[in-house]
């Protein structure tokens, strides 16, 4: 029946661009835009990674930048440190965010005020906040060192950013401080989207607060937790300004993550080719990580009944 219906003559007569041309002309501006600001720099980075580009011009060197990278023990230290930095920081952000969102979601008077009060770390320019932390960590006039001395925990001033271990964890604390509010607010929004009826039904059935949190809240917001974990992981992996302002990757490389290393090589030392090779490695690692992650996200969504 359907295939005997002819094209209405009126439509056939109308003069139009061929469908393909019309479609491409609609997409073209966006493609041009993406091409210029995303694709070209990416391709250019990829090209540079096979050269010894610096201030004095460039020559093709093949895989030697990569070979050098993969044969240096220092590079593996940096990759390991970057993932450790990422997992620790993201885990803390998620845990703190979950706790914060639960508290903000509780029916307490003045909760609107608290919701506003969690935002400053995220809202103020990142450099101001981090400079503030730098002062807190300072060995001469730092607040933290002062407190510890007053309490009698340490005898002499301590410069938290001057020692390898303490510098790394101090940077983590600051990174978590900056990153937690956004996680908190996203999780809060997800929690508020959970139907009240579910809690009431569970309450009528005798489920306590913790039981409801574990068996309703967590599963219901799991897709958001997982998405936030991915976004937060990528941002944390590439988090640059916090470390740079606090320590510039030091002391003795203790806070040098892949992105810091790339910057130091490519910009500070002006070895663009070697820097580009590092950037390509970052793209590769993050892509692999994201694919793994999306696969996982898909499973989670299926399991928790998201449509």
């Amino acid at each position: 029946m359907a295939d005997t219906v002819a094209v209405p003559p009126r439509q056939a007569r109308r003069k139009v661009l061929p469908e393909g041309v019309f479609a491409w002309s609609l997409v073209a501006p966006a493609m041009l835009f993406i091409g210029i600001i995303v694709a070209w720099p990416l391709v250019e980075t990829f090209r540079l990674s096979f050269t010894d580009a610096g201030l004095g011009g460039e020559t093709y060197v093949g895989w030697s930048n990569y070979a050098e990278l993969f044969h240096s023990g220092k590079f593996y230290d940096i990759v390991y440190r970057t993932f450790y930095w990422m997992f620790l920081s993201v885990s803390l952000k998620l845990v703190m965010g979950l706790i914060g969102a639960s508290l903000l979601n509780a029916a307490v008077p003045g909760k609107a005020l608290f919701r506003v009060l969690v935002m400053p770390p995220w809202v103020i320019p990142i450099d101001f906040g981090v400079i503030g932390w730098k002062w807190l960590y300072n060995g001469y006039f730092g607040f933290l060192s002062g407190i510890l001395q007053r309490l009698g925990i340490i005898a002499d001033p301590i410069a938290l950013l001057a020692q390898k271990t303490s510098a790394f964890y101090a940077a983590i604390v600051t990174d978590v401080w900056v990153g937690t509010p956004m996680v908190t607010l996203f999780l809060l929004a997800a929690m508020q989207g959970v139907s009240r009826d579910l809690y009431e039904a569970a309450w009528v059935d005798g489920a306590g607060r913790w039981y409801r949190f574990r068996r309703i809240t967590i599963p219901q917001i799991m897709p958001v937790i997982v998405s936030m974990a991915l976004l937060s992981a990528i941002w944390t992996f590439n988090s640059f300004e916090i470390i740079w302002i606090l320590t510039e990757g030091g002391p003795r490389g203790a806070t040098t993550t892949l992105i810091i290393d790339t910057y130091k090589v490519a910009i500070s030392s002006q070895r663009f080719g070697e820097g580009a090779a590092r950037a390509v490695v970052i793209v590769g690692l993050l892509t692999a990580f994201s694919l793994l992650y999306l696969y996982f996200l898909n499973k989670v969504n299926k399991h928790y009944g998201a449509k």
Binding site: E200, A201, W203, V204, D205, G206, I216, M222, H303, Y304
Partner: protein
């Protein structure tokens, strides 16, 4: 199974009083429906019984135990929500088992109880599915299953059918009535749909503005509405309420002048009504017959087959509705005569209270 008594239940939200001194005695194994327009307080009353809201004053007694201050789970009730409140991430089995998991029931026992509930509700082959894969009616049954496994003393239903389409609602009404019979349980059911109330209830509570207008069996409410509100609310299509002037009060009843100067003598107890008073005469559309009496101009005919619902106006502009036989040869614009059967008519005084009828029919059921 148990009785449910409400003594002087009041509820205010801020300065707004939504329930006024509700007194109600629900018998063991009774199916009671709370019905009323939106905002009448019926859902609030149900939530107070469930323990989801606290009454501002009054006492709730279930099976002889005062549960006014008890936690919902200790009241021996279970509730089915309008939205079903199923856990989307859990299977049907786990949804039904939820209250038992909370109680930390042994696994074998849990399986038997969920299995039995699933059998009653014909969900046995759906136990591994997620709620998202079920139809509206099946979800409804899962929600009921979750309340069955707890063996509550009283089942509470909050507009459980309002999310279903009309056909399914009809089926579920029958299923719920059967369920009530097979479980032999006390059930309290909230709805705004008078058809649900009439078809399922043993007794109906009609609520209006936070007060009980009347509590009685469906046919009591139909034949003996205590107030104008109940008269207008129960029955489909709605009862006609015609303004009338009392011409005389005699031993045989009240003689009143209806719109269009039709004079009827209604066999009712006059109460405080005097000659010259304004009253309202209530006549159900299905009681009107083609005979001399009221003259109406037909505006709209709804031919349903067996009956033709005829909407018209009386002289003076009062609207009237009559359920005439299906093949009545009447068209829009025609003028028809509608006879008033005086024994079936109701009269309401100015406060809206009914004047007792002398020749009311025997109540069935």
């Amino acid at each position: 199974m148990a009785t449910l008594d409400l003594n002087n239940i009041s509820k205010s939200f801020g300065n707004t009083r939504v329930l006024h001194d509700i007194d109600l005695a629900i018998r063991d194994k009774e199916f009671v429906v709370f019905v009323g327009p939106s905002g009448c307080g019926k859902s609030t009353l149900l939530r107070i019984i469930a323990g989801l809201e606290e009454a501002s004053a009054g006492k709730i007694v279930i099976g002889g135990t005062d549960v006014s201050n008890a936690h919902p789970v200790d009241r021996g009730i279970s509730m089915v929500f309008q939205s079903y409140a199923l856990y989307p991430h859990l299977t049907v089995f786990e949804n039904i088992a939820f209250p038992l998991r909370v109680q930390k029931l042994a696994d074998a026992d849990l399986r038997t109880r969920v299995g039995r509930a699933a059998e009653i509700l014909q969900l046995t082959d759906k136990l591994d599915l997620k709620p998202g894969q079920l139809s509206g009616g099946q979800r409804q049954r899962v929600a009921i299953g979750r309340s069955i496994v707890r063996n509550p003393k009283v089942f509470l239903f909050d507009e459980p059918l309002s999310n279903l389409d009309a056909a399914l609602r009809g089926d579920m009404r029958v299923e719920l009535s059967q369920l009530h019979r097979s479980l032999d349980a006390t059930m309290v059911y909230v709805t705004h749909d008078q058809v649900e109330a009439m078809t399922m209830a043993d007794r109906i509570v009609v609520l209006n503005k936070g007060r009980i207008e009347q509590f009685g069996t469906p046919m009591e409410l139909y034949h003996h509405p205590a107030t104008k509100f109940v008269a207008g609310f129960i029955g489909q299509p709605n009862m006609n309420l015609l303004p009338a002037t009392v011409k005389s009060v005699t031993s045989s009843g009240i003689t009143a002048v209806l719109p269009g100067d039709a004079v009827v003598t209604l066999p009712v107890e006059p109460g405080t009504v005097r000659q010259g008073d304004q009253i309202e005469v209530g006549i159900r559309p299905e009681d009107l017959v083609a005979a001399k009496g009221l003259r109406a101009t037909v505006q709209v005919m709804e031919r349903l087959g067996g009956v033709s619902i005829t909407y018209g106006v009386l002289p003076g502009g009062t609207r009237i509705c009559a359920a005439l036989p299906g093949d009545t040869p009447v068209r829009e614009g025609d003028t028809i005569d509608l006879g008033v059967p005086v024994d079936a008519a109701h009269a309401f005084d100015q406060s809206g209270a009914v004047l007792r009828r002398r020749n009311a029919p025997q109540i069935a059921g």
